[in-house]
Symmetry: C2
Subunit: 569 residues, 2 copies
């Protein structure tokens, strides 16, 4: 008799697992349930639909050949049954059945399964402040909401909007509304930085500066306390620090995994409610698989259970589940946490832990960053890239890497090169110094930035270079009347001279000059060096060290990094 | 007493090792010898100088801050001595001295060393045919030759040029001359494809098609037999198949490592003359290091000694040597062979072995290729990427990956992601199916092309899909009167119908149609399926399999690949 497979959930993982299973074992009877009408859509594309990059909401539900992925498509092309507007309400593991309710008719029915797949996804956290139920307050995961937001934007009744939450989707939505619709957008983030948990403080300041340079207001360490409205529609967001006019609000403050169905059936879930699975993507019941945004999976860096709701993870896991449904033996080992987000002029990518996260996880970690061109410096087309490596002192183990660049693909190349190694090996800083990346002048520098950041980290770990972040440098400079620091600008002499002309406390001592003029540097004061990107500063620091001046820090990424975080001297 | 280090060779590895050593151990007395006047130049930039992308030859000898890297720079900024126009002629390992001759004065002198670094590079193979000594016959590794070629181009006396050798530098030179100077360029390659050894036949045909589409003639399996000239200058290249007018000829037929100095000193060299080094980059004499283009290093895929003369390798090795000169313990484990080259509209990148190379190395290997968009299909900016994975049957071990795309950075991202894993792990096809690459719609598809090519390879290795290359498909179609194949076009019906209208042997059976019309496919003839990229063809093949029709092959990469190799129906 044909094996019966039931799949609960029709976005990303569910259809992927069903399709893969049908390809390998076409005799299987697969039934997929989803409580919505639209299924198998590219949820990650929603901000691009809101922003007008994608013309029609149906484009997000279509194959690359513009075939709509509706129940008929899956029946005719993939050979399985899809029941939309149908909610699975309970699992009877003893009887191996699920109960499903048709949301249109209210009718309930019981369906038997041999294997069950839970692809129930996640639900955006709802605003829990007064005014949350006002009109034009949205979350951004359902196509229906996307359509409503886009219509509001096109109607141009929305002059200003507030995004609550400075994570990936929040920032993508902010960019979409400001870029395409010229809307005045404010981002309110509770934590002390945007993209908390995935970017270091410095890189997050680069993201905030990119937003602010394009007229998006960014308010961090700030909490929404209520929303006010008129005629049932939101008109104002009140935070603990200010009031912001807004005709539209997008709440994007994270997701809660939809684990209730699993939990009620007695399957193991984490304290956050995410379903626990093994390497084969099986739940604590081996006949029940789960994957995607409803699941907890192993973080390969920390070794702990973690959570990373991403469409790409869901698709890869879906294939593994599909293979196993068909009798195969595929595994999914866990995740290292790669991600990417494009803002206005700048893109950000990362993998693994930030310095702050690493310390929170108990690692004695450093984050070392460089600014370097992504191509040979003599090649005409190139971008300045910020790259930060996170490593554990002592073991020299690499824990993560994050970066910022105006060229999204170029940045992706560096992050993904390290991500693969993190996934399948346990690299040290030296392994990344030796990392072999493809090279020719239109692609990379001979000493690529990914190698350079590892080299810089090596120098820090070996104690050859003491570093501070650009924001720490600016802080030292701002408080120069109190801290007695001696500031050296090691850039070519003209650049330093221009600053020194305005600020007598600034000492233009180019790398060329310092070779002979090192004795102008006082031996009894701490020294802070800055140059353009960090290269010349390091050499200047070594010159001073040779002459016994060792209480010296240098500002990572030099003036390039200072400018990128929106700072100035 | 200060340690004495002598470095022989002033490009890439030599200066890098010297600088690194001086940073770590500033008391070292380093002397670097080079027989030329210009040193520390970016040799890989020469084709871009010839092509006009780089204005001045000095840009290739300068730091990112436009400081000329001349002997004074290294003395003042880096603290070591450079002697140009000085050839090291012998090493006395017993006495620990080298003999060097000043090429200007002829004077010879002996210099003592504690540690010696050989960075002697490689010499381009000289043409060995009659006419090789004619004027305007160049090789392309010295800046002096680059300058001469550029001047000839600017003088516009060169209407047509011949490049002998279709490797990286040859093709870059061909592009440079045709693109910038509108010169009629022909490439003559002895092997049966351009980029032999680094691209599969199919991908090499894509490279050749890109060249031909931009008026560069490509002649493969063709040998230069002589060059003819007038007034001492070349005017014609004669091959075994034709005569080509040419006022300029660039010979780019590979390199010979400069290992004589080492060999004469009794150090171990390979049969090709490359210096053998261990993981610490030490030669068979532990006080003598060597690296860069004069060395043989271990190929981590084959486990054998190999040779990969690339500036990026030299720079990374130089740092390792510099660390060790200063008493450190750095290692360089070997190489996996990543490379990149940009032609006209298309870039090519790769790592590891091609299918052909893998078979020559004794692996039972397959190469499986896909065509897929590099970004989410609904995202407006995207490029179609060709990606080929090479894997060993049985073990499913990944041996290499190569690709072609109009976006150089995007292609680099996929190749480098796999390169890192190849360097530090021993991945299987399944590991690449699960490879975690950074994702958001402006960066990748949810099921990225790098995962997709592994999935396709899995399907081939499991026998679920039989594949042929686009050139094999075209061959079958050309010989259709003899081979009895039944040709199916699984693209959307309209596309197939248009071809069928012209060719009755072409059967437009879209994936939609074949679900019900599968019985139009004869069960007693071999079947060849093509679609647009390969996705629909695979599903069509599975439909036929379900109905017992299994003598079916599908054309990898579909019509996209056919068009990219310059084919048509």
């Amino acid at each position: 008799m044909a094996q019966k497979v039931i799949v609960v959930g029709g976005v990303a993982l569910g259809p992927k697992a069903a399709c893969r299973c049908m390809r390998l074992a076409p005799d299987t009877e697969v039934t997929l349930f989803d409580e919505n009408t639209l299924i198998s859509y590219g949820g990650c594309g929603i901000p691009y639909f809101v922003g007008g990059d994608i013309a029609n909401v149906k484009d997000l539900c279509s194959t690359p050949y513009h075939t709509l992925r509706d129940p008929e498509f899956f029946r005719d092309m993939k050979g399985f049954t899809v029941k939309t507007m149908t909610r699975v309400t309970a699992i009877d593991r003893q009887a191996k059945t699920v109960t499903a309710r048709n949301l249109a008719t209210g009718e309930e029915q019981t369906y038997p399964y041999d294997k069950l797949v839970l692809a129930t996804g996640a639900t955006p956290r709802k605003p829990d402040v007064p005014g949350a139920d006002l009109g034009n307050v949205f979350t951004l995961t359902k196509l229906e909401a996307a359509d409503a937001i886009r219509k509001q934007m096109e109607g141009s009744s929305v002059k200003s909007a507030v995004v609550v939450g400075g994570g990936f989707i929040g920032l993508e939505a902010a960019v979409a509304m400001a870029d395409m619709w010229g809307c005045e957008v404010s981002v309110v983030e509770m934590m002390d930085q945007v993209l908390p948990g995935v970017l270091s403080k410095t890189l997050s300041m680069m993201a905030a500066h990119d937003l602010r340079s394009h007229n998006v207001s960014v308010y961090t360490s700030e909490k929404v306390v209520r929303m006010e409205g008129e005629g049932g529609k939101v008109t104002r967001v009140v935070t603990d620090k200010r009031e912001i006019e807004a005709q539209l609000v997008i709440y994007s403050t994270g997701f809660l995994p939809n684990g209730e169905l699993a939990k009620n059936a007695g399957l193991e879930v984490t304290s956050r409610g995410a379903i626990v699975v093994n390497e084969h993507m099986q739940t604590s019941d081996p006949d029940i698989y789960a994957g995607g945004d409803c699941c907890s999976i192993k973080n390969l860096i920390t070794g702990k259970q973690g959570y990373l709701p991403l469409g790409s993870m869901a698709n890869r896991q879906g294939r593994v589940i599909g293979t196993n449904l068909a009798g195969g033996n595929a595994t999914f080992p866990g995740y290292v946490g790669t991600w990417a987000v494009k803002l206005f002029d700048k893109s950000f990518c990362g993998v693994g832990l930030t310095p702050e996260m690493a310390r929170r996880e108990g690692f004695d970690a450093v984050g070392v960053s460089v600014e370097q061109l992504d191509k040979a410096h003599f090649y005409p087309e190139k971008s300045m890239m910020s790259l930060e490596l996170v490593a554990e002192k002592g073991t020299r183990r690499v824990l993560g890497m994050q970066g910022c660049c105006s060229d999204p693909d170029s940045l992706k190349a560096r992050i993904d090169a390290v991500a693969g190694v993190l996934q399948y090996a346990r690299p040290t800083v030296d392994d990344i110094s030796n990392l072999e990346v493809s090279y020719a002048p239109p692609f990379a520098a001979a000493m690529d930035v990914v190698n350079a950041v590892a080299n810089a980290t090596d120098n820090v770990l070996c104690g050859r270079m003491k570093v501070i972040t650009p924001e720490e440098f600016l802080e030292l400079w701002k408080n120069r009347d109190n801290n007695n620091y001696f500031f050296i600008d090691a850039r070519p002499q003209k650049a330093g001279d221009a600053v020194q002309a305005e600020h007598p406390d600034w000492h233009a001592l180019s790398l060329e000059a310092i070779q002979t003029r090192w004795n102008e540097v006082p031996g009894d004061r701490p020294v802070a060096i800055i140059c353009n990107t960090g290269l010349r500063g390091y050499d200047a620091l070594l010159v001073l060290a040779r002459h016994g001046i060792t209480d010296v820090v240098q500002s990572m990424g030099g003036m390039q990094a200072v400018l990128k975080i929106g700072g100035s001297i």
